[in-house]
Each structure stands twice: as C-alpha cells, then as structure tokens.
Amino acid sequence: MKFVENVKPDVTTDIVYMMCPMHLLKLEEQVKLLDPGQILEIITDYDGALEDIPSWCEKTGNEFLGVEDSGDFFKFYIKKLAR
C-alpha cells in the first residue's frame, strides 16, 4: 500500500460510516465531475477500500496517489487522468 501525507485535494468527499459499496459508487460519481489532473480525496472508515480503491483506479485508468491513515479514518487520494 502506498502511504502519502499532505496531499492537497481539489475536492473532498466524506463518506465516513456510509456502508459498502458506497466508497465505489461515490468514487465513480465524484471522479466523473473532476477535470483531468484534479485530485479527489475520499474520507472513509471502511478498510475494504484499501483494496477496492487502488484496483478501481487501475481498472478505470486513473491514478491512485495513495492513502493517509489519520487514525480513525482513511483518506484516499485519486488523480483523474485524461482518457
């Protein structure tokens, strides 16, 4: 797993306590709204996202920048790539 710190996102989506698979639905919905090059931050308490979000990025051709473990929650950073 790629861990990062101090990434500056363009958009933040807080899905803490929302049930699986909201992390994938919100991810798709939010990435659609971004311009290429912009960074999305997803905050979640769901540890299954550690596996799901990197593989979603790989599958959809977006860049997974990494995750920050803030103790209570995970912050995932995804950069939208031009297709």
Binding site: I15, V16, M19, C20, D72
Partner: protein, 400 residues
C-alpha cells in the same frame, strides 16, 4: 353509533389523495428501487420525488432526508448514531424528561454502553429552560436531544434558543419533531438543528414511513446495516408505497398548513375554554406555545382510564397520557417531570383534533365530557379530596 375521533396525536387517517398516490406502488409498480431495469427505475424515481417533497416541507435539501420505517427508528438512529460517531470527542448526552420513549430508552441504552446522560426537567408548563441546558453542558457533551413539541401536553419547546446555547460549544442538536412536522411550520434552517425526526402518519400520511433529517456534513453511524439504500446510511428495501404516500402527505401539508391551523385552533380553544369552567380540571402544558390541535388536562379525583372508557361508550375516542404509559397504567413520566403529583397525573386526558372533526363534534365533546367527569366523581373514593395523599393542582398551569 357515530364515532368521534379525538386522538390525532396517536395517528391520523390517510388523506384520500395520499391513498390515491400510493395505489400504483401497491399494485403494478412493485419494483425494487435498486433494480437497474424499468420497474426499479420507476420505484427509484418515485422515492426521489417523495424525498424532494419531504425536504421542501422542512426546508432541507433532498440529500439530507433519510427515510426510516418510523419516528421511533429515526429517534433511535439520531441519538445512537451521533453519540457513537462522536464518542472519541466525548461521551455525554443531554435529553429532556419530556422526550418520547424512543429517545429516553435510546439514552438509557447509551448509559449502559458507558455514556453519561443528563435528563433535564422542565417547568410546570412543560418548557425546557435553555439556561438549564447551558448549565448541564460539560466538555464531554456531544449530543443534545429535545423534542420540538410533546404530544402529551402540546408544549412547543424553545429549540432555537437551545440550539444557540449548544452551538457555542459545537454540540450536535437533534429534535424529535414527530408531533410538529406537517402540523405547524418546521424549518430546519430556522431552527438550526442538525437532526430532526418526523413521521408521515402524523400528517395524514401512511404508517411505516418516516424520516430523519441529517444536516449535510454530519457523520452518523447506521442503525441498520446492509445495502446501500439511503446513501448507505439506512439499509433495507424501501417501503415504496408508504414513502410515496409520505411525499404526497408532505406536499399537501405544505400547501394546506395555514388553512388547517386556522380551522383547528378555534376548535381547540373551544375545548380549553369550556373545560376551564369545570371545577378542578387543569390544563396541562403551555397555553400560548402549544400545538394548534391539542388540548390536554388533568382532572382531579378520577382516573384517566375511567374517563376514556365512559367517553368511548359515548363514541368519543381520546387518550390518557402517552399510549405506552396509558397501557401500563403508569403515571405519565412527562407529567411527573412537570411537577404534577402522581395522584393528579392519574387523571390525565388528551384531546387532539384533526381535519375530520367538525364544530358539531366539538359541541358534542364539550357537552358530554363534563357529564362524564360528574358521574365519575359521584362514585370516586377521592371525590372529597385525596385525604392524606398529596394535592397536585398547584403544579398545573390553569387553576382557578
């Protein structure tokens, strides 16, 4: 025998237009909103339209409305969901003693789970003093839950002032607005609350549909785990017909509210004014800050249940205290919290009006009720006073 229904705080009949709106979803439009084909999309659109109507009723955004199966579920969800979501910041919860059992018992659950809970008393009119809330706040407080109005005594609480006190300390505020939503103007932005519970059957919608308003950005731990219904915050296949009915009821309530209040308030005042002339009958709750269709009393020297039975024999249906307390033949904790003696609290009775009541219905009630009181007092062992039991009338708001 003609039936006179004066128990609209217990529940309301369906508005005919609500039933009509629900019918297709009880019949041919049976789809699951999560299904991707046509049946599913129709059902999904129907619940999203209902969400918009419910949001409009309370001045919220549609995404801030989470449908639940009951007002009690919304209250459980709110109290437990916020207390758990914020437990790393503190473990203290404040509720009033006026709350419905769904709030009080959720608070007791939290207490057993290691939270500290403060139960605040109200004054003799049933009003919670915002200063008392301020004094109860500690560094650990994360949630305050106060009812918007008590269905037992009709008092409307000063939520805006309580929110003001809470917001100075970054505390999440929930209000149980089951008795008020759809019946008086309820505006989440104006009230300033973070969460608000409502139930469709309190405003001519169906049972089985209710909602919790959760202000955007508020983290809440789910009460029911499962799928991604309600944005992954409340699992379970939606009760589509009931949710559609709630939407229609919300639309009608919003459109007709002022008209309904203008019709019901004078009928309520007629009951209160007539009963003020009957000896040792006391209005409970606040006279001014009161639900427009709610008249509640304590009648000295007789029991609520006896009144209910004699009234029912005349076709008049009403309630004594809350439905739960009434069934258990217990003195209402709400009345006791207002400082009313347990003896007097036994004589509690609530008349709540609805759009199906006519002025003639009220004429009948105000003619028959004093006669029922007279008859019961003739046979009451306490008719000449409580003896060595305590007197309680002074705690009530209206006393001649």
């Amino acid at each position: 025998m003609k039936k006179y229904y004066f128990d609209h705080v217990a529940t309301n009949p369906l508005h005919p237009e609500v039933l009509e709106a629900m019918m297709p979803y009880l019949k041919e439009e049976f789809g699951n909103p999560l299904s991707v084909y046509e049946y599913g999309m129709t059902a999904k659109n129907a619940i999203e339209q209902a969400r918009e109507k419910v949001a409009f009723l309370v001045n919220a955004k549609p995404a801030e409305i989470i449908f639940t199966a009951s007002g009690a579920e919304a209250n459980n969800f709110a109290l437990r969901g916020i207390a758990l979501a914020r437990q790393n910041e503190g473990k203290h919860v404040i509720v009033s003693r006026m709350e419905h059992h769904s709030v009080l018992n959720s608070a007791r659950f939290l207490e057993k789970s290691g939270f500290a809970v403060t139960y605040l008393s109200v004054d003799k009119a049933g009003l919670l003093d915002p200063e008392a809330v301020k004094k109860a706040i500690t560094k650990e407080t994360t949630v305050i839950s106060v009812t918007h109005a008590s269905s037992e005594v009709g008092t409307i609480e000063p939520i805006k002032e309580i929110v003001k006190v809470a917001k100075e300390r970054n505390i999440t505020v929930h209000t149980d607005a089951v008795a008020t939503t759809g019946n008086i103007p309820v505006d989440v932005k104006d009230l300033g609350v973070d969460l608000l519970s409502m139930a469709a059957h309190q405003f001519y919608g169906p049972k089985g549909a209710a909602a919790l308003y959760v202000k955007q950005g508020t983290r809440i731990v789910p009460l029911i785990y499962g799928g991604i219904q309600e944005s992954g915050r409340r699992a379970g296949t939606e009760n589509v017909p009931a949710v559609v009915g709630m939407g229609k009821a919300a639309e009608l309530a919003r459109a007709e509210m002022q008209e309904r209040i203008a019709y019901l308030r004078p009928l309520r005042d007629r009951i209160i004014d007539t009963m003020a002339g009957v000896e040792r009958v006391y209005l409970t709750g606040d006279r001014a800050n009161r639900l427009p269709a709610h008249a509640s009393f304590c009648v000295e020297y007789i029991e609520g249940e006896a009144m209910l039975l004699l009234l029912a024999a005349k076709g008049i249906f009403s309630a004594s205290g809350s439905a739960c307390s009434s069934k258990a033949l217990k003195a209402s904790p709400v009345l006791l919290s207002m400082g009313i003696s347990s003896s007097l609290a036994q004589g509690s009775i609530v008349f709540s009006l609805g759009m199906g009541n006519t002025p003639q219905d009220v004429d009948y009630l105000v003619a028959e009720f004093p006669a029922v009181i007279k008859r019961l007092r003739e046979i009451s062992p306490y008719a000449k006073g409580w003896g060595d039991r305590e007197e309680g009338g002074e705690a009530c708001t209206v006393k001649e």
